[in-house]
Structures are given as structure tokens and as C-alpha cells.
């Protein structure tokens, strides 16, 4: 088990050591993002903007306009929410090299509750032209996404979380932008997940197999640009699709898959996720059970359709 956020300092330090022209900014949350470790080694390339997220993105925009690749931290709810206009009207519109590696996305934030969790961040960013959205399922995928973000042109959002999560990959993993990964082939139903729900979907497929149901598991790690071909091909094969995410069922992975299938291959679909409601405080495993975002719920949604 390792948190996706632990990849932030590890990869940024690695990038800086390799001579990448990067800077990092935070908004008084460098201890949460781990950017304090980057700051300790590269004090001239780190800027703590204090509790001022709009200024953080605005400053990152200026750094990027002057040639730097700027990684920005903070908590996702504030970096994306408070500074959305800064992201919309400058970062994305001008296609600047600002890479959002904020932490504490999703409801796996846990005890801090609804004000600090996110269920809308993917939706908020998905409709911004030029933005790329990456959701890591584990530490190794997060690390690869951070490396990819540095190499990509323009804005990137990596949806990084607080808790330690199980490994889905190992150190040899290589990320490819826009490539959904079929982690387990199957015939009867397609389970499309991203982030923390990838492991749940794999567990659900295991449980379904015991009932003689063959589930295909896809990690749609790039939400934008979405790998439509892989999703359509799988839906064509299985005829049933379940999506799973720690995000609202509106506007996130489930919404994106519904759009793709609706236009290309109308297919029965169930969306597991936050059902148009705010989160709440609790240890995050209890929250997932409370909101019905679990391997059992994913399996149940699949069974319901078959």
C-alpha cells in the first residue's frame, strides 16, 4: 500500500535532478502534497503562495508563460474549485504548461468531510478544451503520470488522493496517454473504473467469476482524452457496462462513458459513484460502504443487468 500523493515529491525531485525546467507551487499544503521535500532540495524553484489558490494558479500561469513547467499542489477542492476561473481563462485557454498535482481528490479524503472532498473536479475540468485528465489507480501509475505530465504540452490534471491504496501495478509499469488498459479480459460485462475503484472492479470481477460471470475490467486512467475505441470494442463484446468512480455519476467517468456509448453503441449502463450528493465525514472505507462505492456494489450492478 502506498498513497498516490507520495509520488509527487519523488517524481518532481527526479525530474529536477534530470534537469527538467520545472517549478512547483503550493498553497500552504506542501506537507500534504509532499512538495515540502521538493522545496528542501530546490528552494529557488518552489513557491509557497500561502492560503491564496487563485494567486497560486495566476503565478503559475506567469511562470509558464515565461517558459517554465509549473506543477501546482494544494487540495484539489480548492486548487480546482477556487481557482477554476484562473484555470479556465488563462491556463487552459492559453494552453500553458501548468500541471495540477494537487492532493486529496475524491471522497477518500475521509474525515475532513464534504468541504474538503471532491466529487465534481473531473466534471469541472473535463469541459475545458486543452485540459488532459489522468486518474491514477496506484502509486506507480501516479508516478508515471507525473512524468508524462512534464513531457506533455499544455495543462494536465492528475487526480491524486490522500490515503494509502493497494498496488495495481509494479515499478515496471509504463503509462501511455489516452490508452485505456484492459486489466482482465471478459465476455459478459465490462467494468470501467479509474483511480481507487480499479482495485474494487478487479475484486468485483473475481466475485462475479465465482458465479460464472465473466467480467472485463478496464482502467480508464486517461479520462481525457478518453480511449473511446477500447470502451466501444469492449461494450460491443459484452453488451453490458458498469462504470465506477469516487466522483459524481454526473460529468465524470460514468458521464463520459455514457456519452461515448450513447452516440456510438447504445449499451445498457450502470454508473456506480456519488449519486448527486455531497460527501460527509467518516473513515474513508466506511464512506465508500455508505455511498455504495464498493466491489460488492459494482458486482451487484453487473448482476442486475445480466
Amino acid at each position: 500500500m502506498k498513497a498516490t500523493r507520495e509520488a509527487i515529491p519523488a517524481v518532481l525531485i527526479e525530474l529536477a535532478q534530470r534537469g527538467a525546467d520545472i517549478v512547483a507551487l503550493d498553497a500552504d499544503l506542501a506537507k500534504s502534497t509532499g512538495l515540502d521535500k521538493f522545496a528542501a532540495l530546490y528552494p529557488d524553484r518552489f513557491f509557497d503562495c500561502g492560503v491564496a489558490e487563485q494567486n497560486m494558479i495566476g503565478t503559475a500561469n506567469g511562470l509558464a508563460a515565461a517558459g517554465k513547467t509549473a506543477f501546482v499542489g494544494g487540495f484539489t477542492v480548492f486548487t480546482v474549485g477556487r481557482a477554476w476561473d484562473q484555470l479556465r481563462n488563462v491556463t487552459c485557454y492559453a494552453n500553458l504548461n501548468v500541471k495540477i498535482c494537487s492532493s486529496h481528490a475524491g471522497i477518500s479524503v475521509g474525515e475532513d468531510g464534504a468541504t474538503h472532498q471532491t466529487f465534481e473536479d473531473i466534471a469541472l475540468l473535463r469541459m475545458l478544451p486543452t485540459m488532459k485528465i489522468l486518474v491514477p489507480a496506484d502509486y506507480w501509475q501516479a508516478a508515471e503520470m507525473l512524468r508524462a505530465a512534464a513531457a506533455l504540452e499544455g495543462p494536465v490534471f492528475i487526480r491524486i488522493g490522500r490515503p494509502k491504496v493497494p498496488f495495481v501495478y509494479d515499478e515496471s509499469y509504463r503509462f501511455e496517454l489516452g490508452q485505456a488498459e484492459v486489466l482482465r479480459p471478459g465476455e459478459d460485462v465490462t467494468l470501467v473504473a479509474c483511480g481507487i475503484t480499479v482495485k474494487m472492479a478487479l475484486d468485483a470481477a473475481e466475485a462475479l467469476a465465482e458465479d460464472g460471470i465473466s467480467a472485463e475490467v478496464i482502467n480508464a486512467a486517461t479520462i481525457k482524452p478518453l480511449d473511446e475505441d477500447t470502451i466501444i470494442a469492449s461494450a460491443a463484446k459484452t453488451g453490458h457496462v458498469v462504470t465506477a468512480e469516487e466522483h459524481s455519476v454526473i460529468g465524470g467517468l460514468g458521464g463520459a462513458v455514457a456519452e461515448v456509448l450513447g452516440e456510438n453503441l447504445p449499451t445498457p449502463l450502470r454508473r456506480v459513484g456519488l449519486a448527486d450528493r455531497y460527501g460527509k465525514s467518516a473513515p474513508y472505507e466506511e464512506l465508500f460502504a455508505f455511498f455504495g462505492i464498493t466491489a460488492d456494489e459494482i458486482a451487484a450492478a453487473a448482476r442486475e443487468m445480466l
Binding site: 491564496a52 494567486n55 494558479i57 503565478t59 500561469n61 511562470l63 509558464a64 515565461a66 479556465r88
Partner: protein, 287 residues
């Protein structure tokens, strides 16, 4: 500094820059009149400041618009795009002819500046409140790279109601960004009326000072005073400078001056003819 004006006497420089500012004002009104839309008030208000920067003070090379060592200009009040476009075109960043396309489908001259479309625009703007942060970021990048370019940023007084301006003011002083010089186009007008009636920003001088900035006050239509203030700002060490420029919105056209209504309204053909006459120019209405 521009080589062409470096050796002018103060008197000659004054006459030259005043003529340039007048030219910018005429372009602005012609562009906005032709487009039948745009923001004359804030464009004319800032014409003298922009003229001093673009025809004398800034280090720039229109043939090399992405020169990493160039001075930068951030038009935080992006709705004054016409005055920036006019200055860029007069400097040769793109043909003067292009000014006629303002706000049209086949033109790169968007209603608000787009750095990826218009040569010489250093950053995209239009959403108020963001320019000072961007200027700070550019200055930080220059510091990291050991470059000595300066960054100039133009903020509106109404825009100064945005909280982000003050986040950036705090940040700029904290980082001792002495290569940043901000102008406040202090015309006491915004869309809905007088700034002092909507939400007072006074005392601006005390506010900026309290935020750790070196503060200068000038008549924003006195080109020599503007240049002198810029020179003083360039010499400051350890502190960014803000120049509070007292201005008249829509300066130069008697019937448009100081009226909130002319913030974002285009002159009709008659008004344009009259305005251009006041700016001593042969009208080219409908050309």
C-alpha cells in the same frame, strides 16, 4: 529602451510620445467604431501609459517577439485590448491593416488579448484580477533564469476590487519582485458607475504601501511624468513599484470623457467623426 527615442531631449520626447498616444487613441476609436463593439473608455484612459511603454521605455524587438530577454507587458485589464493592439501594430508586430479586423470572425484580434493568436501579446487576459499574479510569475521565471527583463502590468481601479490583486500584491512584496512595475489606471470609473460609489478602493496609496510596495503617483496623461516614474521604479531594489496613475476615462474626446456609459459602448458614425476631429485627424468613417 527603444533606440529611436533614447537620445531625444525631454521636450522632443514629450512631443513624440504625445503624438504617439494620440495615434493610439485614433486607432482605438476607429477599431471600435468599425467593430461596433469594444471598450473605448479604458483604452483611451491608458493610451499615454501604453505609449510611453511601447514607444520608448520597454526593451522589445518586434522582429523577435518571443525573445526570452524582452521586457513583458501584462494587460491585466484585458478589455483595453484595442490600445495594446494599436501599440503592437504601430511597432510592427503585425500590419496596421490587421487592426481593422478587431472582433471579427476572420481576425486574430479577439475582444480580449490572446497570446497564442497575436504576436507581441505576452499573456492572455480578459478575466479581471489575474494580471499581477502572472506578472509576478514572469518575474520569478526571470530570476530563476538569471535574466534581467522587467515586467509591466496595467490594472484597472475597478479591477482593484478583485481579491486576487491583493493576494498578488502580498506575494510580490514578499518575494521582493523589484522587476515588477504595476500601473493602476485610476480613472474612478467602472461599469456601474464611479468606483468611489460602487465599492471605494481608497486610500489606494496607503493600501499598496501597507502591502509593502513602493508607491508613486502621477498624472496618467503626462508622458514625461510617466517616464520619470518608470525610471524611478527601475532603480528600486528589494521592492516592487506601483504607479498610481490619475487618469480620465475616455481621455481626449470631450463628449466621452469621464462618463461610465462610454466604458463598453462603440461610437456611431457621427460620434466617431466628431471624436476623430477632436483628436485632430481626418475622419475615415465607413472606409
Amino acid at each position: 529602451m527603444m533606440a529611436a527615442t533614447k537620445d531625444l531631449s525631454r521636450g522632443d520626447l514629450k512631443r513624440y510620445l504625445e503624438e504617439r498616444a494620440l495615434t493610439l487613441r485614433r486607432h482605438c476609436l476607429e477599431m471600435i467604431g468599425r467593430a461596433k463593439s469594444g471598450h473605448p473608455g479604458g483604452s483611451l484612459s491608458a493610451a499615454d501609459i501604453v505609449a510611453v511603454l511601447y514607444f520608448h521605455h520597454m526593451r522589445q524587438d518586434p522582429k523577435n517577439p518571443r525573445d526570452p530577454d524582452r521586457d513583458r507587458f501584462v494587460l491585466s485589464k484585458g478589455h483595453a485590448a484595442p490600445v495594446l493592439y494599436a501599440a503592437l501594430a504601430e511597432n510592427g508586430y503585425f500590419p496596421l491593416q490587421d487592426l481593422q479586423g478587431l472582433r471579427q470572425l476572420d481576425s486574430r484580434l479577439e475582444g480580449h488579448p490572446d497570446m497564442n493568436k497575436v504576436s507581441g501579446v505576452d499573456i492572455t487576459s480578459g478575466s479581471l484580477g489575474q494580471g499581477l499574479s502572472a506578472a509576478n510569475g514572469m518575474a520569478l521565471a526571470g530570476r530563476i533564469d538569471g535574466r534581467d527583463y522587467r515586467v509591466y502590468v496595467l490594472i484597472g481601479d475597478g479591477e482593484s476590487q478583485e481579491g486576487m490583486i491583493w493576494e498578488a500584491a502580498m506575494f510580490g512584496a514578499h518575494h521582493k519582485l523589484d522587476r515588477v512595475t504595476a500601473f493602476v489606471d485610476y480613472n474612478n470609473l467602472q461599469i456601474d458607475g464611479h468606483v468611489s460609489d460602487i465599492v471605494e478602493v481608497q486610500p489606494l496609496k496607503d493600501k499598496w504601501r501597507a502591502f509593502g510596495w513602493h508607491v508613486l503617483e502621477v498624472d496618467g496623461h503626462d508622458v514625461i511624468a510617466i517616464e520619470d516614474a518608470l525610471k524611478e521604479a527601475d532603480m528600486m531594489h528589494g521592492k516592487p513599484t506601483v504607479i498610481l496613475a490619475r487618469t480620465v476615462k475616455c481621455k481626449g474626446v470631450s463628449f466621452m470623457e469621464n462618463k461610465a456609459d462610454w466604458h463598453g459602448k462603440a461610437p456611431n458614425d457621427d460620434e466617431l467623426r466628431q471624436a476623430l476631429a477632436e483628436l485632430s485627424c481626418v475622419p475615415e468613417v465607413g472606409a
